[in-house]
Amino acid sequence: MVLAAEGLTKRFGTREALRSVSLEADRGELVAIIGPNGAGKTTLLSILAGLQRADAGRVSHAPEEVGWVPQQAAVYGKLTVRENLELFARLEKVGDPAATVERMLDLTGLGERADDQVGRLSSGNRQRVNIAVGLLGQPEVLLLDEPSAALDPRQRARLWEFILALAGQGTTVLYSTHDVQEAERHANRVVVLADGELLFSGSPGELESTVGEASAARDFESAFVSFLHQRGH
């Protein structure tokens, strides 16, 4: 177990964005957090990343022990790919910034674009830089907020190839997504949130089984929608 959260609750005024959510993740596991809009997916990831504080509950790790990749690329457009990586490597106080940057450039396949300003890169490449920055501290856990949003199918395929390789190397990856079929394809486990409540945690197959044959779900997305209906959402 490399990540555990227990009883996380978050309120914004009178609205409860998260209601006593608990989850765990193992080393190398790919966990997709899915749910309708306003379910609390980004709030849950923000608390796990240390960007927001939970009103109740606890998280097993310190914020700096996990890598964080926000939905919008959090990198400087006027700096080159290399300069962005160097800057964050130095701020993260990694042992050998130059070597780490080279490793990240290799890992992301951005070596040829290393001296290009990030603002001139495609959204797919910007997202790769964004992920590379999240990985600079060599975290055991990487949190990604809708990593494939706004990417075209080819960029999306390359992104998942990269993330799956990370998981294959032992990095635990938690990501939120609106694309349910993406979750089915690229997650060992799906966590379903609705109205701040955790409704399900298990493999995509287990979610389909939970819905049952009576629902006549033809695919995972139909099963997911049926599941939400069954639970009153």
Binding site: A49, G50, L51, A62, P63, E64, W68, P70, Q72, A73, A74, V75, Y76, G77, K78, L79, E83, L87, F88, R90, L91, E92, Q117, V133
Partner: protein, 444 residues
């Protein structure tokens, strides 16, 4: 924090247009404000007709020649004369608006002045289409004519003093080309005293004694005549005294103002922009996850903005120093005042950036706030109602422009104590810094 600072400098270096605008705009605004403040209005164009024939502008007063054209020169210091050939032409130019007024000197003015029994008279015409300009021309011409009158009076009084001295002491006097020996009261008394000695005691000697006493008394009293006539020539003297404020000249104040305006715009815009920029680049959330503390981030942005603006302001002062006389021995004080001012402005900029959260909104807000603050700080007492002036002073005290300007004025011109404005700026920097820190709570 050092790496963030280097990053910001690199970003600025790669935005040359932005940096050029950021530096040039405030410098141009500052120079224009300073120029407008230190320079009076242009000389108004006034038609000038001199009816006195050439070579006849001189008249003699008690043996001294006075040239009217010398008095006209005084007038031309304040107006730009358009010489015309007739009073009708002068009237036509005023009517058409080509000139704001006209001065017509009649042909007989020197004769009247020469007579000593009637005043010379000049005619002044105004174009009243623009009331403000009319007022200015009217005041200018009237004050210059009064100055000419006063100068003539002084000359006449001076001449009278010479004549009285001649009556008292005697001597040569030139009149209509003839040399006249004037005996004078002093020598008359002497002659009488000598004659008295030869007279036997009796009524004649007593009468001579009376004349001698009169001559002595007249001599003694005439001694004061020069003072009396000087008082007639200038009955009211002006003794100016500054009760409140420093002794800063208008041009020195304009320099302090120009430097403070530059300092304000660059610092506020830069601090607000670079802070809001961290949010627009989505980097703020990533940075404050343990990489940099929010307070450290604010300190870095404040330091960057203050250092950049201080460099520009110092270069501006050095540049101005090539054309205007500055007291270079006070240069360390310029830096102290500039640094405190820049910190105050930086804190204000950070508060704007933290509250606006977007670079464009922050820039707009910084502009919208900056100019009114500068103008409010320049409203003089007496220009508005006392209650409104108190309100303006209160508002100005809540922002760093007024204490920044005061500090720079003191540093440049030594027009008071520096500690007060510096403490004021430090307190404002802390207050706006705290506001910015609060604003960061809803920044991510």
């Amino acid at each position: 924090m050092l790496w963030l600072l280097l990053k910001d400098l690199k970003v600025l270096k790669r935005s040359p247009l932005l940096v050029a605008l950021l530096v040039l705009y405030p410098v141009i605004v500052a120079v224009l404000i300073g120029f407008a403040l230190s320079r009076g209005p242009d000389k108004p164009e006034v038609a000038f007709y001199n009816g006195v024939p050439r070579g006849q502008s001189e008249f003699e007063l008690g043996g001294t020649k006075i040239d009217l054209s010398d008095q006209a020169d005084t007038l031309f210091d304040a107006v730009d004369p358009v010489r015309v050939n007739s009073p009708e032409e002068a009237r036509r130019l005023v009517r058409s608006g080509d000139v704001l007024g006209a001065i017509i000197i009649p042909e007989d003015i020197t004769q009247k002045l020469r007579s000593g029994i009637s005043s010379g008279e000049i005619e002044v015409l105004y174009n009243a289409e623009d009331p403000a300009k009319r007022q200015y021309v009217e005041n200018t011409v009237r004050s210059q004519v009064q100055a000419a009158n006063a100068a003539l009076t002084r000359r006449i009084a001076g001449e009278a003093v010479s004549l009285l001295e001649l009556i008292r002491s005697g001597g040569d006097y030139r009149f209509l080309g003839n040399e006249i020996d004037v005996l004078g009261l002093q020598r008359s008394a002497q002659i009488l005293r000598e004659a008295r000695a030869d007279l036997p005691p009796g009524p004649l000697r007593a009468r001579v004694d009376e004349v001698i006493r009169f001559a002595n008394l007249a001599q003694e009293n005439l001694t004061f005549s020069d003072e009396v006539l000087a008082a007639v020539g200038e009955p009211i003297k002006v003794r100016a005294q500054v009760i409140k404020g420093g002794s800063t000249s208008l041009s020195s104040f304009a320099i302090a103002l120009a430097v403070t305006v530059t300092l304000m715009f660059i610092t506020v815009l830069l601090a607000a922009g670079v802070l809001a920029g961290e949010r627009e680049e989505n980097a703020f959330g990533r940075l404050v996850r343990g990489l940099v503390s929010p307070t450290g981030l604010l300190a870095e942005k404040a330091g960057l903005a203050a250092a950049c603006s201080l460099i520009v302001a110092t270069l501006m002062l050095v540049g101005l120093g090539l054309f205007v006389e500055l007291d270079w021995s006070r240069a360390p004080l310029w830096l102290v005042a500039g640094a405190f001012g820049a910190l105050g402005f930086a804190a204000l900029g950070l508060a704007i950036g933290a509250l606006a959260r977007e670079v464009r909104t922050a820039s707009l807000l910084a502009f919208m706030l900056g100019l009114p603050l500068a103008f409010l700080a320049l409203v003089p007492s007496g220009a508005v109602a006392p209650a409104l002036y108190d309100a303006i002073r209160g508002i100005s005290a809540l922002f760093p422009f007024k204490p920044g300007l005061d500090a720079m004025d003191v540093a440049l011109n030594g027009s008071g104590g520096l500690a007060g404005p510096l403490i004021h700026l430090a307190l404002l920097a802390l207050a706006f810094g705290a506001l910015a820190r609060l604003g960061l709570r809803r920044f991510a």
